[in-house]
């Protein structure tokens, strides 16, 4: 497989995952904005910071009105992380890697692009936002379904999945990075309604508020939320789950190619050193530092994958 093709599959998957994650972030932000208008601006700001586009937004707009933020996140071509920009990038990468995709997978990506371009032609009215966000997530699910159902489990598949889990780990870590202060014991006024809503927003932004309930019951605590999002192996958006998947796909690639690579060693260290710790010790060492460290490690891992597999010259 061409290095460029591997890179395109990796990035196609990252962008598709990003589109879905951003839809979740918008959904969680929108809910706060609707129900608690006093904190809306702060919430939108944190959504923009999480998506990594707060500075761009500030430069172009300034104040955090819901309509502006939503339009910026969904449609603005000047925002490289807007849903429209991201789905276009995903499709361009899929076109570049077209020969490594099954017809079904390519058509699912192309259909997503066509659907979202049509859906986001005009600004989305607030009434329509929930439907639009649902459609974005559904499109993403269709691509994932086609990929899972039709692709050979060859190198291309592993590169795509590697991209998916790297992006997802990055996203969950960014949410923790922006919201870590809500989880710190010093400000955790256990049981107050403010914190409950804030905490629910965190869970909602990874679509896990119900899963949490099933797992931990009615008891919402900062420690448990952090444990759930960082260490819980069955939670498909937790740092541990995503990192284990990354390690697994890198193992498969190493087996396929019969070549020892540095990226695999890094993923192994991530799973077996960084994430192999009880939640209390993570808090003791400083949650924010921990998460920042994780973001640094995954960024380094992404760069190493790019080098090891010759995505670019």
């Amino acid at each position: 497989m061409l290095g460029k093709t591997a890179g395109s599959l990796f990035w196609m998957a990252r962008y598709l995952e990003r589109s879905e994650n951003n839809a979740r972030l918008i959904d969680a932000g929108f809910r706060i904005a609707l129900t608690r208008s006093s904190t809306a601006a702060a919430e939108w700001k944190s959504v923009l910071v999480t998506a990594g586009v707060n500075q761009a937004f500030q430069a172009a707009h300034g104040d955090y009105s819901s309509a502006r933020v939503i339009d910026f996140l969904l449609r603005d071509p000047a925002n490289p992380s807007s849903i429209l920009s991201v789905i276009k990038q995903a499709r361009d990468n899929a076109r570049t890697a077209r020969t490594a995709l099954t017809r079904e997978t390519w058509e699912a990506v192309n259909t997503s692009w066509m659907t979202l371009v049509a859906l986001l032609k005009r600004p989305v009215r607030e009434d329509d936002l929930p439907d639009v966000l649902t459609t974005i997530r559904q499109q993403s699910a269709q691509v994932r379904g086609a990929l899972n159902g039709t692709m050979l489990r060859n190198d291309g598949y592993h590169f795509a999945l590697l991209g998916t889990f790297l992006e997802r780990a990055d996203n969950t870590a960014r949410i923790l990075d922006v919201k870590y202060y809500l989880l710190l014991p010093s400000v955790a006024h256990i049981g107050t309604s403010i914190d409950n809503v804030q905490w629910e927003t965190i869970l909602r932004s990874v679509s896990a508020h119900r899963a949490y309930r099933w797992l931990y019951g009615a008891e919402i605590s900062a420690l448990k939320i952090a444990e759930f999002l960082i260490l819980y192996r069955q939670m498909p958006r937790s740092l541990t789950f995503c990192s284990e998947r990354m390690e697994n796909h890198l193992n498969e690639l190493q087996r396929l190619y019969g070549e020892e690579i540095e990226a695999r060693r890094m993923a192994h260290a991530l799973v077996h050193e960084k994430l192999d710790a009880p939640i209390q010790s993570i808090f003791d060492g400083g949650l924010h530092q921990y998460v920042t460290g994780f973001l640094r490690d995954t960024a380094a891992l992404a760069r190493q994958v790019e080098r090891d597999y010759r995505f670019v010259e």
Binding site: L2, R98, Y309, R310
Partner: protein, 479 residues
């Protein structure tokens, strides 16, 4: 009989004879069509469009920013060619392609045809596509035109003409294949009723044909790759389609470099040598070290590898001279010179505006002629006299007088028609045909049929997709 511009002009319709009966190749199809519900076909036609969009068979029109990606209109009524018509056509095409390859070999070696005075030397020397660097070089297997497309028009029951030769980078073969795929999906029952020859083995034949031209440096099974300018090229869909269907890598210039005297592609496991490259990049852009230095599309040093027998480039560099429309007018002589036979398929009579008597006649008769640029393609920069306004005619007259050598002229042909499906029923539209020809040391393979292009607008004679033309599935019937 159609009415055009107040005059009664008679066109040969391939489905309905002058007397009103159905011509024999269309009998089975028409039998099926008459029993069909028109609304159902209408629905299917809409489905076809959705199918094409999902597949992403799109076409970028140069210079049209708003129409970023467009679909070429597809018509659901097939164009049908009988077995005997096809036999005749394919013999003529094979003769022509063989002669072209021999001509290219000669031009880049002893230039016998120029010495014999059968083709004027200026036509080669002054041809931008002529590559002096190819002189004396022997492409692997002696093949220049691995892939070519011969555009054919029909004006009567037994009248076929070659309109132009495309040896540079003929495109459209993916449409030929996707059109058939779409017809099979929409009307599977039709193919049980009408015995139509397969086209689906084209990619495999292409792979075999390219592999048969492997260079001396190749050890073992040849590695074939398709070189594309990238996803923004208008024919990118076709490039990825062909690579995918051949199981070959689709590479861009930045995926390649010269390693140990071979052209190699950067894979996830390091550089791997390529034996045969099917390039969809023009000569000028192939090698920034040897041709255009600003080219980002090519591979620095590929030319030196080529010279040393380290890679096969298909089509061979310098093949583009065969597309020259002034040279076209000499094709009957060229065929005779190399094959010793008369051309089986005639040329369209052509005035070479470089010759003063020809130019005078062209200027006199401009409103009835078609004038083309000698290096033009895609229907750009051409004049269709009968359809042009006074102003357009005057403007073109000035261009002709300023640079006559840049143009050739031909009579406006009464291109045959085949019906298209419209809301109001079947309506005749003008068509042409581009069969696709593969050549290797093992022989010539012509896929039965080819790409039928159709002018979707009533009365229009311009079938180019860049000018709003559409396509049809082309059926060659079994014997």
């Amino acid at each position: 009989m159609l009415r055009g511009k107040g005059r009664r002009i008679s066109f040969f319709d391939e489905m309905t004879s002058q007397e009103g009966g159905t011509r024999s190749p269309y009998r089975d199809y028409c039998g099926w069509f008459e029993a069909e519900d028109v609304a159902r076909i209408q629905r299917k036609a809409q489905q076809a469009e959705a199918l094409f969009r999902t597949t992403g068979i799109t076409f970028n029109v140069y210079g049209a920013s708003d129409a970023d990606e467009r679909l070429i209109p597809f018509d659901v009524v097939p164009r049908i060619i009988s077995a005997s018509e096809w036999r005749r056509l394919s013999r003529g095409i094979e003769q022509r392609v063989r002669a072209l390859n021999a001509f290219l070999h000669d031009i880049y070696h002893r230039q016998e045809i120029l010495r014999a005075g059968r083709v004027p030397t200026e036509l080669i020397a002054g041809n931008e596509a002529f590559l002096p660097m190819m002189m004396g070089l022997d492409p692997p297997g002696g093949i220049y035109t691995h892939i070519s497309g011969t555009d054919i028009v029909r004006t009567g029951a037994n009248e076929f003409y070659v309109l132009e030769d495309n040896a540079r980078t003929p495109s459209g073969v993916s449409y030929m294949l996707e059109n058939r795929e779409t017809m099979l999906q929409m009307f599977p029952e039709l193919f049980a009723k009408v015995p139509v020859r397969e086209v689906s083995d084209y990619p495999i034949n292409l792979l075999k044909s390219l592999a048969a031209c492997a260079p001396p440096a190749c050890g073992g099974t040849p590695t074939v790759a398709v070189l594309t300018p990238g996803i923004h090229n208008s024919a990118y869909y076709e490039h990825s389609f062909l690579a995918d269907h051949m199981g070959a890598e689709l590479v861009e210039g930045h995926d390649l470099r010269v390693v140990d005297g071979r052209v190699a592609m950067r894979t996830t496991q390091g550089y791997k040598a390529i034996d045969v490259i099917y390039r969809r990049v023009d000569d000028d852009f192939l090698d920034p070290l040897n041709f255009r230095p600003d080219s980002m599309l090519g591979v620095p040093g590929i030319w030196d590898v080529y010279r040393a027998g380290g890679i096969t480039i298909a089509n061979a560099p310098g093949t583009g001279i065969a597309d020259d429309k002034a040279l076209y007018s000499y094709m009957p002589d060229i065929i005779e010179f190399y094959t010793g036979e008369k051309a089986l398929l005639p040329n369209v009579p052509t005035w070479r505006c470089s010759e003063p008597e020809h130019l005078r006649e062209v200027l006199d008769r401009l409103p009835e002629l078609v004038v083309k640029e000698v290096h033009g393609s895609g229907g750009y920069g051409m004049l269709v006299g009968p359809a042009a306004s006074k102003k357009e005619l005057a403007a073109f007259r000035a261009k002709l007088e300023a640079n006559p050598g840049n143009y050739i002229a031909q009579p406006t042909l009464s291109l045959s028609t085949v019906p298209i499906f419209t809301k109001k029923g079947l309506a005749p539209r003008h068509v042409d045909l581009r069969p696709f020809v593969l050549m290797s040391p093992q022989g010539i393979t012509i896929t039965p049929g080819g790409l039928t292009r159709v002018a979707m607008t009533k009365g229009s004679l311009v079938v180019n997709s860049s000018q709003g033309g559409g396509t049809k599935d082309t059926w060659v019937l079994e014997d």
